[in-house]
C-alpha cells in the first residue's frame, strides 16, 4: 500500500476546522496503545472524558471508526492519528497484530463486505410507475414553460436580459426547481451572475441559451430518444438516477487507477469528481460526490492508488459516471504511470464525447511530456509533446504542479473543457501525485 503523506491526510479532512483541531491533537501526549499494520492504524486518544476514545482506521477503504460522539467524518481524532502516523517518527509504531478493538472492527467490516448487499426490498412496481409518470408530467410542464421563457428572452434580446435584476433569473430558476429540474435551475442562476461578470458574456449567454433550447427540444421528443440520450438529458436537468437502479444495472470489475480528483465549492454545493481508469478495460469513469449545507464530502481516493473494485455504471454517454459497489480494496504494489497522449487526442475525444452527448462538459485527459508554463503573471498554459498549447482554466492555479515540474515536460493528468485545461495530478518519481 502506498504510504500516505501529509497532503493525503489533509485531503481526507471533511473541513478546515477538523484539520485544525486534529493538528492540535497530533502530538504523542494524548495518545496511548497506538500501532499500525499494513492496512490498519489504531490508537486511544484521551479526550475530556474519563475513557479514552478508541480510534481505528482501515487504510484500504479508507474507513474510519472512533468512539467519540462527533458527527464529522472522519473525526478529528482519526485525522490526528493519521497525522501522527504519517510523521513516521515512531509515535505510531508498526505492529504484528492489531489491538483488540481495531482487529474486531476490521473483522466485522470484512464479514460485512463478504455478505451480499442487503436485499433490495422490491418496490411496488405499479406505485413506482405512477410516481414516475407524475414526475415526468411535472417536468414536461416545467420544460414547456422554460421554452416560453427562452423565446421571450430572445424576443427582447440578451442586452435587455442582462439589465434584469438578479431576481429575474432567480425566479426563472425557482420555477425550474419547482418543476424538479434542479440542475437546469442552477445553470440559469449561474448564467444570471455570469452576464455581469464575464467580458464575453454575450457570446457565452448565446451558447448557453442554445444548450438550454436543445434540452427543451429534446424533451419534447422524449419518447423517441434512445436510453443513452435520455440518461444524458436526465443528468443535464438534474433528474437523479436512484442508486439502487444503478447498482442493479451494468457493472464492471477491474483494477481502477485513480487519475485525479477535483473539488469545487460554489458556496451552496460542494462537488467532487474523481476520475478512475480501468486497468483491463481501459475505460475511464467518474465518481461524483456532492455535499450541501455544510456537510462534508466523502474523502477522495489518493491519486495514483489502485482500487480493486466493482463499479456500477450510470446509464449515459462517455465519460460514464459510476459508483463503487461494496468495499474496494487498495492494491499494495506500486503502479506504473498511465500512458499519455497529446492535446489533439484529447480534443478529438472531447469532440466525439459531444457527438454522443451535447450537454457534456469535459473529458479526462492524460498528456505525456507536457509542460506547464506560466504566461504573464496571472495565466498559465499547458504545452504538449507536439508543441500544441491550451490555456489552463483559471479557477485553480496549479501552484504545486508548477513548482514540482518547473515548466519541464512531465506526465500531466487533467480535465479538458471547451475553454481550457484543468490540472489534477502529475507524474512524479513515485507515481501520480495530486496537485
Amino acid at each position: 500500500m502506498p504510504r500516505w503523506n501529509l497532503a493525503a491526510v489533509e485531503k481526507a479532512a471533511p473541513d478546515a476546522s477538523s484539520l485544525t483541531a486534529a493538528r492540535r491533537l497530533a502530538a504523542p501526549g494524548p495518545w496511548s496503545d497506538t500501532g499500525s499494520t499494513e492496512t490498519l492504524v489504531w490508537g486511544k486518544c484521551q479526550g475530556s472524558g474519563r475513557t479514552p476514545y478508541q480510534v481505528s482506521i482501515d487504510l484500504s477503504g479508507p474507513a474510519y471508526r472512533c468512539s467519540c460522539p462527533s458527527r464529522k467524518f472522519p473525526c478529528k481524532h482519526a485525522l490526528a492519528l493519521l497525522l501522527l502516523w504519517v510523521q513516521g517518527n515512531g509515535s505510531v509504531a508498526d505492529a504484528e497484530r492489531p489491538a483488540d478493538f481495531a482487529g474486531e472492527w476490521a473483522a466485522q467490516r470484512a464479514e460485512k463486505a463478504a455478505r451480499p448487499d442487503r436485499a433490495a426490498t422490491p418496490a411496488d412496481p405499479e406505485a413506482r410507475a405512477k410516481r414516475q409518470a407524475e414526475r415526468l408530467a411535472l417536468m414536461t410542464a416545467g420544460m414547456a414553460e422554460f421554452g416560453l421563457w427562452l423565446t421571450d428572452l430572445v424576443r427582447g434580446g440578451t442586452v435587455q436580459a442582462r439589465r434584469q435584476p438578479w431576481g429575474w433569473w432567480d425566479t426563472a430558476a425557482a420555477r425550474l426547481v419547482d418543476a424538479q429540474l434542479p440542475a437546469l435551475a442552477e445553470r440559469v442562476r449561474t448564467a444570471g451572475s455570469e452576464v455581469n461578470r464575464r467580458a464575453d458574456w454575450a457570446d457565452h449567454l448565446l451558447a448557453e441559451l442554445g444548450r438550454w433550447w436543445s434540452a427543451v427540444q429534446a424533451w419534447q421528443r422524449w419518447d423517441q430518444l434512445d436510453d443513452r440520450t435520455r440518461a444524458d438529458l436526465r443528468a443535464y436537468v438534474g433528474w437523479a438516477q436512484a442508486t439502487d437502479d444503478v447498482r442493479a444495472g451494468e457493472t464492471v470489475t477491474d483494477a481502477w487507477l485513480v487519475l485525479g480528483a477535483h473539488r469545487s465549492d460554489d458556496g451552496r454545493l460542494l462537488q467532487q469528481r474523481t476520475w478512475l481508469r480501468g486497468e483491463t478495460s481501459g475505460q475511464v469513469v467518474c465518481l461524483l460526490d456532492f455535499a450541501a449545507g455544510g456537510a462534508p464530502l466523502p474523502l477522495s481516493h489518493l491519486a495514483g492508488s489502485v482500487l480493486e473494485a466493482t463499479l456500477a455504471l450510470y446509464p449515459g454517454s462517455r465519460p460514464r459516471r459510476a459508483l463503487v459497489v461494496g468495499e474496494p480494496s487498495v492494491r499494495s504494489e506500486p503502479v506504473p504511470l498511465p500512458e499519455g497522449g497529446t492535446l489533439e487526442d484529447g480534443l478529438a475525444d472531447l469532440a466525439s464525447a459531444w457527438v454522443d452527448n451535447p450537454w457534456g462538459s469535459r473529458v479526462p485527459v492524460v498528456l505525456s511530456d507536457a509542460a506547464l508554463l506560466p504566461v504573464d503573471g496571472v495565466r498559465a498554459q499547458v504545452v504538449d509533446a507536439a508543441g500544441a498549447a491550451a490555456s489552463l482554466l483559471t479557477d485553480t492555479m496549479p501552484w504545486t504542479a508548477l513548482a514540482r515540474t518547473g515548466g519541464r515536460p512531465a506526465l500531466v493528468v487533467g480535465e479538458l473543457e471547451r475553454s481550457g485545461f484543468r490540472v489534477l495530478s502529475i507524474g512524479a518519481d513515485d507515481g501520480l501525485v495530486a496537485v
Partner: protein
C-alpha cells in the same frame, strides 16, 4: 471555425443582443441544412444558437504556445530528507500551533541558508505564501528559492517581492519627479522606507516638494522624518518652526525635542538654566521655578498656550525640560542622573519630571533610562537600557509589576533569547498569576523565542498545573523549545 461560419455566428449574436422583435435572424449556413421551415423568428434564433454552440464547441482547436520559459536548473543542493520532512511538518501540521510555526520556519530557513541549500520544490508555494504574509521571513525565503522558486514567484503577482530574488529590495533609486506624483500616503510610505537605509535621500524628497505641498501633506511628510531622525534633519525642522500652519509646527517640535544637540535645544537650555538652582551647603536641594511669559522666540520654540487644563507656566516648564539637553540638570546638581532625578523628585516639580521623561524617551538616553527605570513606570523605558543591565533590571521589574499590562511590557522589552535568570524570573512571575491565560496567549511568541531551553522542565511542571486552554499553549511553547535544536540536527 471557418470564416463563413464565424461571420454567421457574429450576425446571429447581433440579432440575439437586440432581440428578434427588432432584428431578422440570419439564415443557417448551407452546411447546417435548411432549418425548420416557417419557424417563428425567436424559435429560429434559438435553433440556430443550439446548432451553433454545438458546432463551436466541437471546433475547439489547440493553439500556438505563448512565449514562456521553463525554470533554469537549480544551483543549490537539496537538504537531507529529514530536514525536508521537518519543514513539511512545520508548514502543514505545525506541532507548535499557527502562531509559532513561522518562527520555526525562520530557524529552518537560517539553517538551510547557512549550508547553502534550497527549499524542496513541492513546498515552494507554501513558503512563498507564508512569507507574503510574514514579511520577516522574506529574506530567508529568498535565500532558499533558487532558480525554481524565483521562476515560480514571477508567475504570481502576490509573490512579486520574491521574483528578483537576487536584486536587493532596498533600492534607493527613487525618481523625485515620479515620487512627487504619488498619492500622499504612498509618498509618506516611500519616505519612511528610504529613511531606514538612506535618511538624507528621504529628507531630500520631502524638501523637494516642500514649497508646493499643502499644509496637511507637509505635516504628514515631516512626521515621516521620525524614522531615522538625526542632526542633519535640523535645518528642515528649524524651517518648519516658522511654518504658517500650526499643525506643521506641532510636528516639528517633538522631533526637535529628540535632537539635544540642536540650536533649539540650546535655546531651551538657556531658558531653563536660570529656573533651576542647587541650594544648601552640600547642594542637596534643587529649586525649580516656573517660567514667566515667554517672548516671541520662546513661542516659536514651542512655549505656546497649552491645550490641556492646568497651570500654563507648568506646561512651559514641561516643554523646556522636554526640549533642553538633559545635561542642564546634571550640571545644575553636579551629580549623576539618578541623584539628580531624586533631587527633582523631592521638589513639587511634576511638570519638570514629565518633561524629563519625555526627553529621555525621545532621545533613547540609556544612562537616564537606567536612573529612571526604578522610579517611574513607563513601558518604553526598559527597552532603552544597555544590554548588560537590561535583564537584571527587567528581573527586578517583574517582581514589582502590578498589572498584566506591566508584566507584558517588561517581557516584551527584553529581546530574545533570554538568559537563564530572566527566563526563570518570567516563569516564576507567570506561575504566580491566578489566571495566566491572557498573558500566555499574548506572550506566546516572546516566551517561545525568549525562554532558555534549559527551563523546559520548569515549564512542563507548570504546564501540568494549568487549565486546558493555557495547558495547550504552554505545551506548544515547550514543543517549540524542543524543536529548535532539532532543526540544524535534521540537516546533518
Amino acid at each position: 471555425m471557418t470564416t463563413e461560419l464565424a461571420e454567421w455566428w457574429s450576425q446571429l449574436s447581433a440579432a440575439a443582443l437586440i432581440g428578434t422583435t427588432r432584428r431578422q435572424v440570419p439564415p443557417l449556413p448551407d452546411v447546417m441544412g435548411g432549418g425548420r421551415p416557417g419557424a417563428a423568428r425567436e424559435v429560429a434564433l434559438l435553433d440556430a444558437a443550439a446548432l451553433g454552440s454545438a458546432l463551436r464547441r466541437a471546433g475547439v482547436r489547440t493553439r500556438e504556445p505563448e512565449p514562456a520559459e521553463a525554470a533554469r536548473d537549480d544551483v543549490l543542493g537539496l537538504p537531507a530528507p529529514r530536514a525536508v520532512q521537518l519543514l513539511e511538518l512545520v508548514l502543514r501540521q505545525s506541532p507548535v500551533g499557527p502562531a509559532l510555526a513561522p518562527e520555526l520556519v525562520g530557524h529552518w530557513l537560517t539553517a538551510a541558508a547557512d549550508l547553502g541549500l534550497r527549499a524542496p520544490h513541492h513546498l515552494l508555494p507554501e513558503l512563498l505564501e507564508l512569507a507574503t504574509v510574514r514579511e520577516a521571513l522574506r529574506p530567508g525565503v529568498r535565500h532558499v528559492l533558487d532558480a525554481r522558486g524565483a521562476w515560480l514567484a514571477a508567475a504570481n503577482p502576490d509573490w512579486r517581492w520574491a521574483a528578483g530574488a537576487a536584486a536587493a529590495e532596498t533600492t534607493t533609486d527613487v525618481d523625485p519627479a515620479e515620487w512627487a506624483r504619488l498619492p500622499t500616503d504612498q509618498r509618506v510610505a516611500e519616505v519612511v522606507r528610504l529613511r531606514t537605509t538612506d535618511a538624507a535621500t528621504g529628507r531630500g524628497l520631502v524638501e523637494s516638494t516642500w514649497s508646493s505641498d499643502s499644509a496637511g501633506d507637509r505635516a504628514g511628510l515631516l512626521a515621516a522624518l521620525a524614522t531615522g531622525l538625526g542632526p542633519d534633519d535640523e535645518p528642515l525642522l528649524e524651517r518648519a518652526l516658522d511654518d504658517r500652519a500650526q499643525r506643521v509646527r506641532e510636528v516639528a517640535m517633538p522631533l526637535l525635542d529628540a535632537l539635544p544637540t540642536s540650536a533649539r535645544a540650546a535655546r531651551m537650555a538657556d531658558r531653563l538654566r536660570p529656573l533651576i538652582q542647587a541650594k544648601g551647603r552640600l547642594r542637596r536641594t534643587l529649586e525649580v521655578e516656573l517660567p514667566l511669559e515667554p517672548d516671541a522666540a520662546g513661542v516659536r520654540d514651542g512655549l505656546t498656550r497649552p491645550r490641556r487644563v492646568g497651570s500654563v507656566r507648568g506646561w512651559w516648564l514641561q516643554r523646556l525640560a522636554a526640549g533642553a539637553p538633559l545635561e542642564v540638570w546634571t550640571e545644575a546638581t553636579g551629580a549623576d542622573p539618578a541623584t539628580t532625578w531624586r533631587m527633582v523628585s523631592q521638589q513639587d516639580a511634576k511638570d519638570a519630571k514629565v518633561g524629563i521623561l519625555e526627553a529621555v524617551l525621545a532621545r533613547g538616553d540609556a544612562e537616564w533610562a537606567a536612573a529612571l527605570v526604578g522610579e517611574v513606570w513607563h513601558p518604553r523605558l526598559l527597552a532603552l537600557l544597555p544590554a548588560e543591565v537590561l535583564e537584571s533590571t527587567a528581573t527586578r521589574q517583574l517582581t514589582v509589576a502590578a498589572t498584566s499590562e506591566q508584566v507584558m511590557a517588561v517581557v516584551a522589552a527584553v529581546p530574545a533569547p533570554w538568559g537563564p535568570a530572566f527566563s526563570r524570573a518570567v516563569l516564576k512571575r507567570l506561575a504566580a498569576e491566578p489566571d495566566p491565560m491572557v498573558l500566555i496567549s499574548r506572550l506566546t511568541t516572546q516566551l517561545a523565542t525568549g525562554l532558555d531551553p534549559a527551563t523546559r522542565p520548569t515549564l512542563e511542571k507548570w504546564q501540568a498545573t494549568l487549565a486546558p486552554g493555557a495547558h495547550e499553549r504552554v505545551a506548544r511553547i515547550s514543543q517549540y523549545l524542543a524543536l529548535v535544536p532539532e532543526i540544524p540536527e535534521a540537516f546533518r
